[in-house]
């Protein structure tokens, strides 16, 4: 039964506030960033016209490509690290049991902390002189994990994983609980071992969860800012070892006061985000318009 509804004055009035709020601070800035990328603005005075100057500077700057490359590395490595661990934790949490649910509560805690709190805590904890490496037996950790250009990026990826794995484990837990038990019962009757059950039932049944979690991780990788900002003391350092795109944009715009160039970097970020989303939303189920309870 479909009900065809015409626009009523009430509906228009109801739709307007969200449109206004989101339009003003979401859609207008989305176009604004493109316009500002053609402007010359120090962040204080009035923006002037710059034409394509910002773009030619940004595109010919090796720093931009480094930042893009770093962002892609963080994206890929984070996915590779987070997905198997989150899936394993999700599997553990989804099964019934008192100890399991108690551990799940503990594992959930990093999700509650702000990125700034996590960044400050890990920065101190990883300090080579007074951090965890000063513990007897853990001296192998007493190295400048955040100060060494070769190690800093992986340390950052580790802390990102620490912060976000609980969320993805939660997604997997929820996905796992929706797999019909009858599938496993049928498999058990037929003598399927745990490995068969995992590869032939669990993984295929989790496909939407995997796509959703992957989408969120990939798009999320473009937005890692707070944590890296704090861990690197606002520099994306040492040197530019952790200067991912959002950080490069912030530094160009709000520290070097070149909003035009920063807007060009931001536009690259928007394009990357849109491309990633368009490529993945198709499969993620975000656009399924009808109720998902029907015919499940």
């Amino acid at each position: 039964m479909t009900v065809v509804r015409t626009r009523t004055p009430g509906a228009v009035a109801m739709a307007a506030p969200a449109l206004l709020l989101f339009g003003l601070f979401g859609i207008v800035p989305l176009l604004g960033v493109l316009v500002l990328s053609l402007a010359d603005w120090d962040g204080l005075g009035t923006p002037g016209w710059a034409g394509l100057a910002n773009w030619s500077t940004v595109l010919s700057d090796a720093g931009t490509w480094d930042a893009l490359w770093l962002t892609l590395r963080v994206m890929v490595v984070s996915w590779l690290v987070q997905t198997p661990i989150a899936l394993a934790l999700g599997l553990f949490q989804a099964a019934p049991g008192r100890i399991r649910s108690l551990l799940a509560v503990l594992w959930f805690l990093p999700l509650l902390l702000s990125a700034v709190a996590i960044g400050l805590a890990w920065q101190a904890l990883l300090d080579p002189t007074f951090g965890i490496g000063a513990t007897p037996g853990l001296h192998w950790l007493a190295r400048p994990l955040l100060g060494d250009p070769d190690l800093a990026l992986y340390t950052v990826i580790f802390v990102i994983a620490w912060q976000f794995i609980p969320f993805h484990a939660l997604l997997y837990q929820a996905g796992l609980r929706q797999i019909p038990v009858t599938l496993y019962e049928a498999a058990a009757i037929d003598g399927a071992g745990p490995r068969d059950r995992f590869w032939r039932i669990t993984l295929p049944q989790l496909r939407y969860t995997i796509v959703t979690s992957t989408t969120l991780m990939l798009v999320g990788s473009l937005t890692y800012f707070d944590l890296i900002f704090v861990l690197s003391g606002g520099t994306g350092g040492p040197g530019t070892a952790t200067r991912v795109l959002p950080l490069a944009m912030y530094i160009t715009g709000f520290q070097a006061h070149d909003m035009g160039r920063a807007s060009a970097i931001a536009t690259i970020l928007v394009l990357a985000g849109l491309a990633l989303s368009l490529a993945t939303t198709k499969w993620s189920g975000f656009t399924r318009m009808s109720s998902q309870q029907e015919g499940a």
């Binding site: 009900v3 065809v4 626009r7 969200a18 594992w107 513990t135 473009l222 970020l269």
Partner: protein, 296 residues
């Protein structure tokens, strides 16, 4: 379920493990699970434990004690330092920003979701697509135009400067969650109300609102956590100490305390405390909230 029979058939022909070996495999699997469980628990618990015990150590003795050893004599001096350093103001700012942004988001999103879920016209479908697009916009990417907008609106360095964009960027996910809830409400219920002469506003207030109450709790908790922990908007849109919210205040504390790690950790603990209280009170809703939008 076609997968079911196919899987069952394949499993039956491929399982050749002798029965006597199964317990050994089970034991190994259990040991592996226990080991991995322990390792992850340590990874989560040790940093949290370290933050708490460090916050209770004296600044002078901190560098000489083993990092993981509890303080010889616990002190709350660090907490006094933090509380004396304007913590009340920051807490109040965070509370005002969070309550205002969440209330605004939920109010406008509920109206929008009602229009989207009830309307079947092309117009309402485009309206929904607009918010789906919004899910892909990274905050970081549009921060420069938002900054310009906030300056032009003469809102820079006010709490409203954080509230408006934070609320706007919470709208897409909130609309999505509420729409997926409202779609499950049978059309007949709304039809019946309409027959009785109820207009859009009355249907929203008397029917939709009570029905989506569980989803409302979810979006309030989810958005609340996001806004409370948000860092980028406060960092860029406010300036003065009196307007700082907690995550921003944490970085101010660090600047102020310098190498005083115990005081910084006390600030981390205090900034997290309100969320922990919320977690204890509303754990179920919080967990439901974090997964609802993505794994329905």
């Amino acid at each position: 379920m076609t997968i079911n029979t196919a899987t069952a058939l394949r499993v039956r022909t491929s399982t050749g493990t002798p029965r006597a070996l199964a317990p050994v495999g089970t034991v190994l699997r259990r040991a592996g699970t226990a080991g991995a469980t322990l390792l992850w628990s340590a990874l989560v618990a040790v940093p949290l434990y370290w933050v708490v015990i460090t916050s209770l150590k004296e600044r002078a003795g901190f560098l000489t004690t083993s990092p993981l050893a509890p303080p010889a004599s616990a002190t709350v001096a660090n907490y006094r330092t933090v509380l004396a350093g304007g913590f009340g103001t920051y807490l109040l700012n965070s509370a005002i920003v969070t309550v205002a942004a969440v209330a605004g988001t939920v109010a406008v999103s509920l109206m929008a979701a009602f229009v989207i879920a009830r309307g079947t016209s092309r117009w309402s479908r485009w309206y929904f697509r607009l918010f789906l697009l919004g899910l892909a916009i990274p905050l970081q990417a549009v921060i420069i135009p938002v900054y310009l907008l906030i300056i032009r609106l003469h809102l820079y360095d006010s709490l409203l400067a954080i509230v408006l964009p934070a609320a706007a960027f919470a709208v897409p996910i909130t609309v999505m969650i509420l729409v997926s809830f409202l779609r499950d409400v049978p059309d007949a219920l709304f039809e019946a109300m309409r027959m009785d002469g109820a207009g859009d506003w009355r249907q929203l207030w008397s029917l939709a609102l009570p029905l989506v109450r569980p989803a409302l709790v979810t979006v309030v908790v989810y958005n609340g956590l996001q806004v409370w922990n948000g860092f980028l908007f406060p960092l860029i849109l406010t300036q003065s100490n009196e307007r700082a919210v907690l995550p921003l205040a944490l970085t101010l504390y660090r600047g102020q305390f310098g190498i005083d790690v115990p005081a910084t950790m006390a600030a981390v603990v205090l900034s997290t405390a309100p969320i922990l209280v919320l977690f204890i009170v509303a754990r179920r809703q919080l967990i439901a909230g974090l997964t609802a939008g993505f794994s329905k």
